[in-house]
């Protein structure tokens, strides 16, 4: 996603009431994260499961929350998603970078890039691929999901 759109997306989510953003950085969404850091509205955790835990605490305090991470972090987090987020029906937005989407990405991302969509389907986490031309609709969709009490996932492809 373009820099400008990533920054707009951050501001848009804030305006929609998604005030708490916690996660582990990913270059795929570095401008999104930078926008949050500039405004002091983002929290960097040491690992993805920790980020989910913090966001769950915020969600239990009735605040809309988003967790961002690479897809390697999604793989780390499967048990936390199934035994915490889904078990207790905690509404969270996940924003996950799709490393390994292009064949020429670094080798450690290839396998997880291949199976990422299947993992999301298997664990039953509804997802949409967010792009430069549909990001507003995706954000609104995600907000609707968490307002209805469900978690969901927005995926950003790494196209560079």
């Amino acid at each position: 996603m373009k820099e400008k759109i990533q920054r707009q997306m951050f501001d848009y989510l804030q305006n929609l009431g998604v005030k708490n953003l916690v996660g582990v950085p990913d270059s795929t969404m570095k401008y999104f994260i930078d926008q949050g850091l500039k405004k002091n509205k983002i929290l960097i955790a040491t690992r993805e499961e920790e980020a989910i835990g913090i966001a769950v605490g915020m969600s239990l305090s009735k605040c809309h929350s988003l967790v961002f991470m690479q897809n390697a972090g999604l793989a780390n987090s499967i048990s936390t998603i199934t035994s915490l987020v889904q078990l207790y029906q905690i509404p969270l937005i996940f924003l996950v970078g799709w490393r390994g989407y292009l064949q020429n990405d670094a080798p450690e991302h290839r396998k997880i890039g291949e199976i990422q969509s299947s993992i999301l389907k298997l664990i039953g986490l509804k997802s949409k691929i967010v792009k430069d031309d549909n990001w507003k609709l995706c954000c609104k969709w995600a907000l609707k999901q968490i307002s209805n009490g469900s978690s969901c996932c927005l995926v950003i492809q790494r196209l560079f």
């Binding site: 920790e50 835990g53 605040c63």
Partner: protein, 181 residues
């Protein structure tokens, strides 16, 4: 002091404050000793009690949040201490009931027998206390009443053969009654 005695002691002292309790015997004991709607019992997701507590503490600066953790649990998420120590929530009190073992899976040893969790927490800028027995624990609980966090109390406990039953509430009900507070 065993875990049940330690949990009995602290729940008598803290009343209706919010408690996030770790999975395994800690949640089971708390549920059997003093079930309240202000208790959030974790069933799975081992290691994350302190992180959930941190999220709640950030969003509820006027309430005190107690995390009931175990040594095996916090050792799975030591990074949490660095995040807590950086954000310095004044209202977070992190208790680690330390028996040096993973008791609910059969008593396998943890590293807390050779590495001090209290020292790690101190290095992460938490205000740290350690209780070896009931009277020390009681004194610490008096001391921290007016003290600003983040605070950690490592409570050394003995293993006991007595195990409380499982938390019989449904996870969704645990959440609903907790979030209505």
């Amino acid at each position: 002091m065993n875990r049940k005695e330690a949990i009995e002691l602290i729940t008598r002292k803290i009343g209706n404050e919010l408690i996030i309790s770790a999975n395994g015997y800690i949640s089971r004991d708390l549920f059997s000793i003093n079930d309240k709607t202000t208790n959030f019992y974790m069933i799975g997701s081992m290691g994350l009690a302190s992180s959930i507590g941190l999220g709640i503490a950030i969003k509820n600066p006027k309430k005190r949040i107690y995390v009931f953790d175990g040594d095996g649990n916090i050792l799975m998420n030591l990074g949490s201490l660095t995040t807590i120590g950086t954000l310095k929530p004044k209202n977070l009190i992190h208790l680690v009931f330390d028996n040096g073992s993973h008791e609910s899976t059969g008593g396998q040893p943890t590293c807390s027998n050779s590495i001090s969790i209290a020292k790690i927490a101190k290095a992460a800028n938490l205000k740290v206390f350690q209780a070896e027995n009931e009277s020390q624990f009681e004194k610490i609980l008096v001391k921290i009443k007016k003290l600003l966090g983040p605070i950690m109390i490592v409570v050394k406990i003995k293993n006991s053969k007595e195990a409380s039953g499982r938390v019989s509430l449904k996870p969704l009900d645990i959440k609903k009654r907790f979030t209505s507070k």
